[in-house]
């Protein structure tokens, strides 16, 4: 032990590691190291320190040197290494492209599928919209029909209510006009002398329907002279039961002539259809 420690402290191990000893001295050191484990350990510690020292003092060789050395050594390694550097890169790039192309194809297929679905949805939405529009049209037609029916019934109802009121009112006079050209023709005029109101009842009217260029004209005969009370139509589609005519306070008789549309200032006596006295 003591001998080993003294040997270590002599500094000869450092010189050994630094390659400073001659062949004879080197053999001595090797013999001591194989005899004393602490000498061997100390030697290794010095070696490791010098190794680290050298690594920390490293100078990086230029890039091509490795291949030059391996070429000189006749080792196939550099080529393998070079290939290993290149091929995986290529393969990587290739697989990169391939996977890119694959994902682009997938994206394209997805787009196409989406387009088809969208078109189908658009078509179905369009036909839904069309049928909805049809429904709306038919509903609004129904509604119009309904509302016109309601209006018709409302006015009919108002007219009927008025008729009932008129029938109960002694001031309203009912004048029946009898056919002049055709004995079957007849109609009814309601007259309120105090209120000067005159109305005709389209439901109690038997007259041939007038054409578009002619209208029936109502006249009042006042002291032998005809007074115009306005025109009215006879057609089966009329909405109103009662038609208001012009006012008149006094009259001895009422008559209706067929005149040109809009009426005439004087009655055409040949076209006298019905007449009735008060």
């Amino acid at each position: 032990m003591e001998e080993g420690k003294a040997y270590i402290e002599s500094g000869i191990l450092e010189l050994y590691v630094l390659g400073q000893l001659n062949a004879q001295e080197q053999l001595e050191v090797q013999a001591m190291a194989s005899t004393y484990s602490e000498v061997k350990q100390e030697m290794e510690a010095i070696e490791i320190a010098m190794e680290k020292y050298a690594v920390q003092n490293a100078v990086k060789p230029s890039l091509g040197l490795e291949n030059r050395i391996f070429e000189r050594l006749g080792i196939a390694v550099p080529e393998i290494q070079q290939e290993a550097k290149v091929i995986p890169l290529n393969a990587e790039v290739k697989t990169n492209y391939q996977s890119k192309i694959r994902s682009l194809r997938l994206a394209l297929a997805a787009c196409a599928a989406l387009l088809v679905v969208s078109l189908a949805a658009l078509y179905s939405a369009h036909s839904d919209l069309g049928s909805a529009r049809d429904q709306i049209a038919s509903l609004s037609a129904d509604r119009e029909k309904f509302s016109s029916t309601v209006n018709y019934m409302k006015s009919n109802n108002a007219d009927l209510t008025k008729l009932v009121a008129m029938a109960n009112d002694p001031d309203w006079k009912t004048i029946k006009l009898a056919g002049q050209k055709n004995p079957n023709d007849n109609m009814v005029v309601y007259w309120h002398p105090k209120g000067k109101q005159v109305m005709v009842n389209t439901t109690k009217m038997v007259l041939p329907a007038n054409d578009k260029s002619h209208q029936y004209q109502l006249w009042a005969l006042v002291d032998g002279k005809p007074v115009d009370l306005g025109v009215f139509d006879v057609n089966p589609d009329t909405n109103h039961i009662l038609v208001n005519m012009k006012e008149i306070g006094t009259a001895q008789a009422f008559a209706v002539t067929l005149e040109q549309r809009g009426g005439s200032p004087t009655p055409t006596m040949e076209q006298m259809m019905v007449m009735g006295g008060v």
Partner: protein
Amino acid sequence: MAATKKISLSEEELVSKLKSQDTLAIQALYDMYSGALLGVISRVIQHTEVAEDLLQETFIKIWNSAGSYDNSKGRLFTWMMNIARNLSIDKLRSKDFKNSNKNQDIENNVDFIDAQKEVTFNADVLGVKDLVTSLKPEFRTVLEMVYFKGYTHVEAAEELSLPLGTVKTRIRMGIMELRKNFN
């Protein structure tokens, strides 16, 4: 990218592969130690091209004389390091190197002189300079001369006009300080 990964093996694996002439060993040695060996060579021979040629020679010698390596005599790196340094010192003292030094191109000369006067700083060595300067100057001077500049300890003693025993002591103290620093 995996192909560029540095190879690193344990000391035992390295030795057995090297002795069986497995090319993986020389690749691993290059990855692990080419910088350290070139660092040593470059301290002796500053000329970059010559230093790299010497590194090449070093690896060829390591490969070819792997059979003569005996691990009972020391670690693998110590052996490689001695090969590198001996080749460098031989080169430094050879005639053709001395001649070629005289005939250097002017631009090379400028770099060479600068390097000799330590005017330019080698970025690879900067961190080391810090470490070395942390050593006491008297230890550092001796250690650099013997480890990096190719002096024998006898030459260093003569150059520094110191007794041989003092040089030995300073080498030992310097290495002990390094060991402390590394641990």
